[in-house]
Symmetry: none
Subunit: 233 residues, 2 copies
């Protein structure tokens, strides 16, 4: 039958830009954290207007593949610009509960140990992370970096290389759940309050209270609805 009259494919320009962008990331060997070329440069080298470049970047942005910083460039979030297939999404969703259970077990113990073993310098590092997170949130950010630093500092203060090693093996997936969690409207401030409670327990050397506070916090994060896109409040 009419295999003749079909293609009909008007690709929107931004879709072609998307493809070129994906190709560029591969060819240039870019990975997570690397910066993409400036919009003006991309426009020039691809021979399209900045507006079209921007449309493509907006797409990548809502897909969480890229982060555009006003005045600071556009950065890769992962090592690729490919959208994750639904299958893998579903697969990871299944594994997530296990990861979060493990996290609860590990971090609860880490908080307990940190309360007992932390040095004053380590306590100060934890406090600094807390302050950093507070500033981030005050500045409109979601505080993900402060969050990361906080947990890293607590882990260090626990002085258990074995538990730290365990944490490392699930670090990547924790990062994802953290990001998703803090994307929820109003979550950053609540998260900050929970971190503060953990800090105070550790500062007071109250191991039991530190463990309880950490457990509560991790369980809150575990309620994340992974990868559900929520508009930035």
């Amino acid at each position: 039958m009419s295999e003749a009259l079909r293609p009909m494919v008007k690709s929107r320009l931004y879709e072609q830009v998307l493809e070129r962008l994906r190709a560029h990331v591969v060819e240039a060997g870019l990975s997570a954290g690397d910066r993409l070329p400036a919009e003006r440069d991309l426009a020039a080298s691809l021979g399209v207007s900045r507006a079209s470049i921007k449309q493509a970047i907006v797409v990548l942005e809502v897909q969480g593949l890229v982060e555009a910083r006003h005045g600071g460039g556009t950065y890769l979030v992962r090592d690729t610009l490919d959208v994750e297939p639904v299958e893998q999404l579903v697969e990871r969703r299944k594994r997530l509960p296990e990861v979060l259970e493990a996290r609860e077990a590990l971090e609860t113990k880490l908080a307990e140990l940190a309360a007992e073993r932390r040095t004053d310098a380590e306590l100060e590092t934890i406090r600094a992370a807390l302050d950093f997170m507070r500033d981030e949130i005050g500045g409109g950010d979601n505080g993900v970096e402060g969050d990361r630093r906080f947990h890293a500092a607590v882990t260090a203060a626990a002085h258990s290389s074995l538990l730290a090693e365990f944490m490392k093996t699930i670090a990547e997936q924790i990062t994802e759940s953290r990001t998703e969690s803090l994307r929820q409207p109003g979550r950053p401030s609540r998260s900050l309050a929970q971190h503060t409670a953990i800090y105070e327990a550790i500062a007071a050397g109250d191991a039991k209270k530190a463990a309880a506070a950490m457990r509560k916090h991790v369980r809150t994060v575990a309620k994340v609805r992974l990868l559900t896109w929520v508009p930035e409040d």
Copy 2:
């Protein structure tokens, strides 16, 4: 006119536009197939540039919530602009195989019955749907409306109110799988060929061949990877 322009305080303008758009769809009571206001009008009433409106629309486009037709306006694909939560996606993915199994059972029998019972007028209706689908595809559309009409016509020609009732209960999910299927590049023309085969068997009164052709068609559709976005190209 529009309400007073509030200071838009959010980080990305297109995100605010998205919210306004979602709100507008609700307030104006728009539903699938309805047309959104023109980009120029939206830009004027929201007090932003067309470029920002377009960025928002591009987002809705890649999310499959809206279809922008060059020169013909922008149309709603569903009754809402909200993104479907992952849970429902996963849930429906699980139920989908059952639905498609049911569809195969029902439609195969319907085609068989249609071949035996159809009146000439009903055959004509089926043929008209086929022609409509061919025109849609020739005109650059994916032929989803012609597809719908074809199956509806076959169902009617089978003269089985019970089977028709069953079909109705899974109609909504069939619609979705149909849309997703016809989004695949090159799929519309192959689909048309399969429909033609079904039509010819029904026209010839060959019940067995009609059933076989329909079964083959439904199984093809069943291979759809639901809601995995594939760029039109």
